[in-house]
Every structure is written in C-alpha cells, then in structure tokens.
C-alpha cells in the first residue's frame, strides 16, 4: 500500500506573509502566479514590480516588497481582483503593503501639489499616505 501523501502550508509560511494576510484579509498563498492580474493592470507599465511579482515577494516573506514603488502606483482599481482565477483581491494586498510601509516609517517621496486640486483628488491621495 502506498502511504498517504499530505501537503500543507504549515511550516512554510513566512511571518511577513502572515502579517500581510492579517492586514489585507487576502491569502497570498492562494496565488499560483498565473500573471493574469499583471496582464490586465492598467498601471503595470509604471510599476517597478508587476502585481504578481509583488505577491511572489510576499509569499517568499521578502520584506523588500515594502520598498517598492508598485503599491504606490496601484490605484486600487480592482481590475486584478475581478479577474484573478483564485479570487485574490490584490488591491487589498497592495493597501496592506502601503500601510505596513507607512507604519514602519518607509514613506514615498513627499508630494507637493503644484496647483489647487479638487478636494476629491486631494482627500483620496492623502488618505493613501496616512497609516
């Protein structure tokens, strides 16, 4: 008789990935790296890592994900989330990375608006910058 083969996440999960999961409510290990999110992200061209690569770093527990510009370029448009075959809403993962970075004092370059903007734009932009 062949013995039973059991696969489990236990012991393989990085604490950083757990923290991102806790904050985002999205399980990073659900992602199987198909790349559909990145193929459809309207902002991917401006990111230093593609959305699926950001998720891969999180899976690997690599905290360099906190220093990427990608989460700051992400506009929370949820295009990736509605298309992901595994139901990962990456916009939430991106928000968790922004919040974690801010709470650790890693902030993006300061923003100096060059003209008056509508409140709707300013409030949206600055909320993203407050942990």
């Amino acid at each position: 008789m062949a013995s039973e083969l059991r696969l489990s996440r236990a012991g393989l999960e990085a604490p950083f990935a757990r923290r991102v999961e806790e904050l985002s409510g999205e399980n990073p290990y659900a992602c199987y790296q198909c790349g559909k999110c990145s193929a459809g992200c309207p902002f991917a061209d401006h990111m230093d890592a593609l959305p699926n690569q950001v998720l891969r770093l999180v899976q690997l527990g690599d905290e360099s994900a906190l220093s990427l510009s990608a989460p700051w370029v992400c506009a929370s448009c949820h295009a990736c989330g509605v298309r992901c075959p595994k139901g990962v809403d990456i916009a939430r993962t991106m928000e968790a990375l922004r919040v974690l970075a801010l709470r650790k004092g890693i902030t993006p370059a300061p923003v100096r608006p060059d003209r008056p903007y509508p409140q709707i734009a300013l409030i949206g932009a600055y909320r993203k910058l407050t942990p």
Binding site: S24, H46, A75, H78, G81, A91, K128
Partner: protein, 280 residues
C-alpha cells in the same frame, strides 16, 4: 412626488457644482423630491482596504445614520466615489461586531443598518426605467455618438458592481433612451488613474490619452461619465495630441435631454455636435 434622500459629497458642491444643478432639475422633472441629508460629512472618497482600520468607516457610517434619522431607506449619490465608499461601508457594518464598535464612536446615536446606497445610474435604470426616460425626453440627442465611460467604482469590486463588471450595458441603454447612439469602446471600464492625479500626473496623462483615443477610435463625439474625478482627469490631464472629445457627466446629459436650461451643458453638447454634426 417621490422623496429620496440625497448625499451630494464635496465635488458636487464645488468643482462639479454645475453637474448637481442640472441633474437635480432633471430629477425634479421626473417626479423626485430630493431631500439633501442635513449636516452630511465627507464620505472619505476611498474605502479603506485594511482590516484593522475601523476609524475610517466612522465618517461614511455617520452619513448612513443621518439617512436613518430622516426615516428614508435609500440614499442617492451622484458621484461614483461617494457611491463606492458609502455602499461598501454599509456592507462593512452588516457584521454585528463591527457595527457595535463603530456605534461606540457614534454614541449616543446608533446606526441600525439596512440603508441602501444607490447611484444616479441605478436610479435611472431600476426606478425610472429606460422606457419612461425615452418618453420624458424633450430634447433628444439626435443620434449624437456618446461613449459611456464607466471607470472603476461602479463596477468593482464585484459585490458592489451595479452592472456586469466585464460587460456593462446600463449607461449605453440610458444614452439610447435619450436619443443618442451609444459607442462602446475597449477602455470603457479601465481606470483613469483617480487620485494619482495629485501624486503621479504623468501616469494619469498616459491613461487619459489612451481612454480618449480609444473612444475616438470607436467613433465617439463625446464621453459620458458617472464620477466627478474621472471628469476632472479626462478634461484636465490630456496629453498633447489627444482628440478633442467633450466629456459630460451623466446627469448633464440627462438634464439636456429633459429640457433643462444649462449654458454649460449647451456648450458641451454644442462642442460634441460640431465634431459630429449629428445634433441640429
């Protein structure tokens, strides 16, 4: 007259003031008595996506509480961003434990839950109906080729989509009901860049260029939008060489068709008509 509670939000009272006047005038013609929420506050514009951030839901829930105090069951928004934050917050506090904790901030009042948040587009589709819209149209669009641009918030994330996120049709149907020709185009559901307009103007310009070229490629003479921030970006963030497509807010198009006199809309429709010569 049918009463409906109304949450304007900051944009409709300031940079998009013109959108509000015409829309409310058109809704009055359609038999709605608009009840603006007294002492409404900012919805927050973006919905917080992290799990441990209750504080940011207090603002939107306070607005829902005020709708409850008006003894209305529904609240109308004209802005897609307001729709997004309010609808998602209403859903967020369907969980009794979250509701209990948010209500601790609202003490001595308490939100009971159950207020439904709707957007102008869903009001037109589900309550007024396309047939009635067509019947009430006094100044038909005469086949003006209008491209509906949905952007994000009315379609994503999925639980809050007012229509099929991949293939929406509601705005096209409204345009047709008002006598226009709806022009679908590939970029109609792709994000304009939203508040990146403050931090990454370059990125938004690239997006806006693509969206307008895509609409023009489909043969559009004007764009119609549901969000004042999309509206701002699509007008103010055009890179050089972008086609000169006028952008109208959905309520402006409605106001025009219902016969409201709004010089701003008249000039926009005029601009569209010049490029198409469809409106005579």
């Amino acid at each position: 007259m049918k009463t409906i509670a109304y949450f304007p939000g900051c944009a409709l009272k300031d940079q998009a003031r013109a959108d509000e006047t015409g829309t409310l005038g058109a809704l009055a013609r359609l038999g709605y008595e608009i009840r603006e929420i007294p002492r409404w506050n900012c919805c927050g514009t973006v919905f917080s996506l992290v799990q441990d951030d209750l504080m940011r839901h207090v603002g939107p829930v306070r607005n829902l509480l005020r709708v409850q105090a008006m003894e209305e069951e529904k609240v109308l928004t004209l802005c897609a961003m307001c729709y997004g934050t309010l609808a998602r917050s209403a859903h967020f506090v369907e969980d009794p434990e979250r509701l209990r904790r948010i209500n601790a901030f609202l003490d001595p009042d308490a939100y009971q839950g159950g207020v439904e948040v709707i957007h102008l587009l869903t009001l037109l589709r589900d309550e007024v109906g396309y047939e009635r819209l067509a019947a009430e149209t006094r100044r038909p669009l005469n086949g003006l080729r209008v491209a509906p641009y949905y952007g994000c918030v009315l379609l994503r994330p999925r639980p809050f989509a007012v229509d099929d996120p991949d293939s929406p049709a509601a705005m096209e149907r409204v345009v047709e009901a008002l006598g226009g020709t709806a022009v679908p185009f590939p970029e109609r559901t792709e994000c304009c860049g939203t508040h990146l307009t403050v931090t990454r103007k370059d990125v938004v310009e690239e997006r806006v260029g693509r969206i307008l070229r895509s609409a023009r490629g489909g043969g559009a003479d004007a764009l119609v939008v549901t969000c004042p921030l999309c509206h701002f970006n699509l007008e103010e963030r055009r890179p050089a060489g972008t086609p000169d497509l006028p952008v109208l807010y959905l309520g402006q198009l409605l106001a025009w068709a219902m016969g409201e006199d709004d010089p701003g809309v008249a000039s926009l429709v005029g601009r569209a008509a010049v490029s198409s010569e469809a409106v005579r």
